[in-house]
């Protein structure tokens, strides 16, 4: 810390001039400061390396195939040398939207019950369960999805949905089990802890006076939540949703195991599809040639770009609301 200049420093310190910034004059301190700055700067170097290396690996794909054709073609046939990213982008978006559709309302309900409604005794138990959900490796979710969720979808759920809502293109087709719906549902389970924990943090920042004011005016608990709590936390809840979406887009293993791995575009949620991370996971190690590798890296770059943009938006939103970083739990 800063030392008053009228106190002479002891021993060898005297030889060193006081620095303009008012930093300590001890040579050990300078080394220490330098080491810290170097270590912090390395984080920026790592980030830069990721961008550069990924861009470099993907360049042949964009160069030889043309960016527009690469992104909009739906023909993926590595042996014939044609690479179109559309089925994967489509699959990633559809499964993530399904996940958000289920996970966000459940997360909001869960967060409200925990922080506004339910008995206080229940809170530590449920929050322990949510933290545990977040710690389970994704390959274990995939295992569960493959042997529990997919059979359930194949037998009672998808035929029932097909019977009731089969007039919609989303719910047409044979009930295979493996497909967009299975991947979306497993993603919903996986991103729920992320979204719920951020929303709980956001709800904590709602000033008690708002809630109490509404209650004092005679509002029921739900009315206080609807009129005072939720409007205040709206931006934070949107931020939480974006963070969850970011996780869903990049999730690999569980999706790879249940999406069906077929590089086609289907309107039906029952149909097997593919996602950006899944095709990279399945084909990268056994790519047929340099162009195939570059195309897969190109898919990685697309994924990277989407998640970075989402994360930046989400962080800014959550920071704005909470006036400090939340969502990252130690």
């Amino acid at each position: 810390m800063r030392q008053p200049t009228d106190i002479p420093a002891a021993g060898p310190l005297q030889a060193v001039e006081p620095s303009i910034s008012g930093r300590s004059r001890n040579p050990g301190d300078r080394v220490w400061g330098g080491v810290l700055v170097a270590l912090g700067g390395l984080v920026l170097v790592v980030a830069g390396a990721i961008v550069l290396v990924l861009g470099d690996a993907a360049r042949p794909a964009y160069g030889q195939l043309g960016i527009l054709k690469f992104l909009t073609s739906s023909d993926w046939d590595p042996v014939a040398g044609s690479f179109g990213a559309l089925p994967f982008i489509y699959g990633t978006l559809v499964t993530s939207l399904v996940a958000i559709f289920f996970a966000v309302p459940i997360s909001i309900g869960l967060a409200l019950f925990l922080s506004e409604m339910g008995p206080a005794r229940l809170r530590p138990v449920v929050s322990f369960a949510i933290e545990t959900l977040a710690a389970i490796p994704s390959v274990v979710y995939g295992l569960w999805g493959l042997f529990v969720l997919v059979p359930l979808l194949r037998n009672p759920i998808e035929p029932m949905l097909g019977k009731a809502l089969g007039f919609l293109p989303m719910f047409k087709g044979p009930p295979i089990g493996l497909g967009y719906l299975a991947a979306g549902l497993i993603l919903a389970v996986m991103i729920l802890p992320t979204i719920a924990s951020v929303i709980i943090e956001v709800l904590k920042t709602v000033p008690p006076s708002l809630r109490e004011g509404a209650l004092a005016l005679g509002a029921t608990r739900w009315e206080a939540i609807r009129m005072a709590v939720l409007p205040y936390g709206r931006a934070g809840i949107i931020g939480a949703t974006l963070l969850g979406l970011g996780r869903a887009l990049g999730e690999t293993m569980a999706v790879t195991m249940v999406i069906g791995n077929s590089p086609e575009v289907h309107a039906s949620l029952f149909a097997p599809g593919y996602s950006l991370p899944a095709v990279i996971a399945n084909e990268f190690a056994e790519a047929t040639g340099d162009l195939h590798l570059a195309a897969l890296a190109g898919l990685g770059l697309v994924l990277f770009g989407i998640t970075i943009i989402l994360n930046v938006c989400a962080r800014l939103l959550v920071w704005k609301v909470a006036r400090g970083p939340v969502g990252v739990r130690a």
Binding site: V43, V140, L143, G250, A285
Partner: protein, 281 residues
């Protein structure tokens, strides 16, 4: 305005809906744990922990090399990732109020959202291509990249928890800043940093995607960092997507082992945090 009765009814109904959301959120967890334990426990035996994987059709065999491989890869990742992550965290806490600090903090936040499969591609380009082979080292580089951002942020939070008075007392005694940081502040924050390390090791041990094309897999023992290496997670994946019933059972058993490992690390971290909080009061 609707009558008091309907308003109270709406309140009850919404409380019910939110309670249902809690049940919906916890149900998959209960199902998952029940299945991993009930289907995985049967396959656990001494040989599961000591034997190499058996070929299709042969009974028995284990995942000993995969357990050893996971430990090797995660250990190597710690060698690279811990100094970097903890160092960046200490930087953020000690010197992180300037422009560089804000940039590093924001970058770490954003990096923690990068999909692990993308980091796998980067490790492939950085390590596998120059070495011309898949290796434990490549897997470790990928895992280290994944550890750094979260480790930096949580280290920062723990270091910032150290009371100001401790720092000021040390500086007032004439101790230079660097010795104060190392001997007083980091020592006080040590418990918290260990917690952060345990959690990031637990996360790294559960990663699969970045290992698929960096460490690849191996049917045999391997302790050399420049050779393809098996890992528990990749082994679970391969067993799960195989068409054989016997391999499916092994996938569940291996998942049980993985959950126990990850759970143990999380439990340790939790106990450490709790005992530290108690002693602080």
């Amino acid at each position: 305005m609707s009558s008091l009765k309907t308003r109270k009814l709406a309140n009850k109904a919404m409380t019910g809906v939110c309670a249902a959301a809690v049940v919906l959120a916890v149900a998959p967890l209960a199902s998952l744990f029940w299945l991993v334990v009930s289907r995985g426990a049967g396959g656990l035996s001494l040989s599961f922990f000591t034997a190499l994987p058996a070929p299709v059709g042969e009974t028995g065999g284990g995942v000993a090399n995969a357990i050893a491989g996971t430990l090797t890869i995660v250990g190597l990742a710690c060698l690279i990732g811990l100094p970097l992550g903890i160092g960046a965290g200490v930087f953020l806490a000690e010197k992180g109020d300037g422009r560089l600090g804000r940039a590093v903090r924001f970058t770490a936040e954003v990096l923690s959202g990068v999909p692990s499969i993308v980091v796998g591609i980067v490790a492939y380009a950085l390590v596998v291509i120059p070495m011309h082979r898949f290796s434990a080292l490549a897997g470790a580089v990928a895992l280290a990249f994944l550890m750094v951002p979260t480790l930096a942020r949580s280290t920062e939070e723990f270091v910032r928890l150290v009371p100001r008075a401790l720092r000021e007392a040390s500086l007032a005694l004439g101790v230079p800043e660097w010795r104060t940081a190392l001997r007083v502040i980091l020592r006080t924050a040590l418990g918290g940093i260990v917690t952060a390390v345990l959690l990031s090791v637990a996360r790294a041990a559960g990663e699969t995607a970045p290992l698929l094309f960096t460490a690849l897999n191996n049917q045999y023992w391997n302790f050399k960092p420049d050779q393809p290496t098996a890992s528990l997670t990749v082994q679970i994946f391969n067993y799960a997507i195989s068409p054989y019933q016997d391999w499916h059972d092994k996938a569940w058993s291996a998942a049980l082992v993985l959950l126990l490992l990850v759970g143990l690390l999380n439990l340790l971290a939790r106990l450490l945090t709790r005992s530290r909080l108690r002693s602080a009061r």
